[in-house]
Amino acid sequence: MEETLKLIFPYVVVLIGVLLAFQGVLMIVAYTVLGERKVLGWIQGRVGPNRVGPWGVLQPFADLLKFILKEDIVPNESSKVIYYLAPFIALTCALMPIVVYPFGPTITTIDWSFLPYGIAEGVHTLRLVIAQIDVGVLFVLSITSVGVYGIMLAGWSSNSKYSLMGGLRSSAQMISYELAMGASVIGVVMLAGSLDLTRIVQAQMGSPWYMRWFIIPQFIGFVVFLISAFAETNRVPFDLPEAETELVAGFHTEYSALKFALFFMAEYVNMFTVSMMATVLFLGGWYVPGLSHLFDVGSVPYALISIGAFVGKVIFFLFLYIWIRGTLPRFRFDQLMNFGWKFLLPLGLLNLIGTIIVVFFLNR
């Protein structure tokens, strides 16, 4: 029994960690929605939702309830299997990348002694990343690129021309901007010397932090990344696929109720993951400069503060999203494609070439 428990214990810890992490993400996402409405309201001189709970804090749950209770409409002529499959693909692919982001430093001094039977004997370290894999950056990119299927299939299976147009636009847009995104990421990868996100964060540690954070040497890359991240997530000013005025909400025109909610969530999760990516790649991830002077590296408080810093940085990006949504107009589709191919991609490539040259000479 004890042996079995001992055997299972690490898995249990990981499982709990995963659940917690995902729960946290979903909560943050849910409140991002609220936050967006509030901030938009603020920008537009309105109040925003304030009826459900104090300041409207229960609004997300009310929304969820609404989605669950709404009638689920399935278009007659749609391809049923794909129609059902699409939102799941979208959400799954949005959530998957979360597993590789390190959201805090490794905790080395953890004390499990309060547990019975000493089932956690000798285990003192806890990695604050669900899966540290060798090719983390590529993993994120690849899952994101698979995510486009959700949108495309949704557009196609609805058997409606608006949805189809939305799906087509979305996939074209995502394919186009993924290149620029990749180009901007490679600069970071080269400076860090690894595709592993944890390593990338580690490479940004140390002093002087303002030189280490890749936002400084890779500023162009950062800008390119940010813009293409906006495009990847179909957010304003790149929200052509779901432009209400043109396409009547685009690929999810025909979706309602819970399936719509899944798409909706997927979009916000995507925003969140992209923000995490930006944080990890350019803002040093969970690293707080100078924190090691206050707490021991590897101690629990150090980790907690780091997690806080990480979340804070992510929220900064989320705010940026909302802010831009409130201020910028939408592109026309051809402008968007031109911008992507003729400006962003060359810029990313130039940055890449510059980085190559610099790295080459620095390493001689």
Partner: protein, 187 residues
Amino acid sequence: MVSTALFFLFAGFAIMCAISMVYHKNPLYSAISLVGVFLSLACIYLTLAAPFIAIVQILVYAGAIMVLVVFVIMLLNLDDEPNTSRLKYLYALGGGLGIVLLAQTLFVVYAVSRTPNQAIDPNVTVGNTIDIGRAMYTDYLLPVEIVGVMLLMAIVGSVVLARRLSQPQLELVIDKEEERISEEINS
């Protein structure tokens, strides 16, 4: 044990998806089945200790090539394949080819399993990013350069193909149309 189960799970899934791809008349269903094959193959690469290839498999095949294919299917709004009577000999040909290849596969499996297997050291992995990267820019430097040229060419090629017709080419089409019409009138 777990890896065995996983292997057979993904292998079965891959074969099922592959059959479904051939079976389905609707190109989109075929495409999705193919994505399924790609994803399960990626997982199988993981069991072969080739994480880099596994990820690139998803990135390139599922994330780029098949997205393009699905894109084209949607763009052209392809319907199901019509069920007209195909030339019968093609079915015979396909069946024959299938049998030959299957026999060949069996032969390969037999030949390989007959040869005493050297045990594979599970700790030796060559599929890490660093291994691949190092080999790519030393031994495989030349192929990488050729691939560069090839991709450039593919870009040029697809741009050429996708661009609108030039003026003389349009004239050509119009010419031909007129010719056809005049022929019809004559006949």
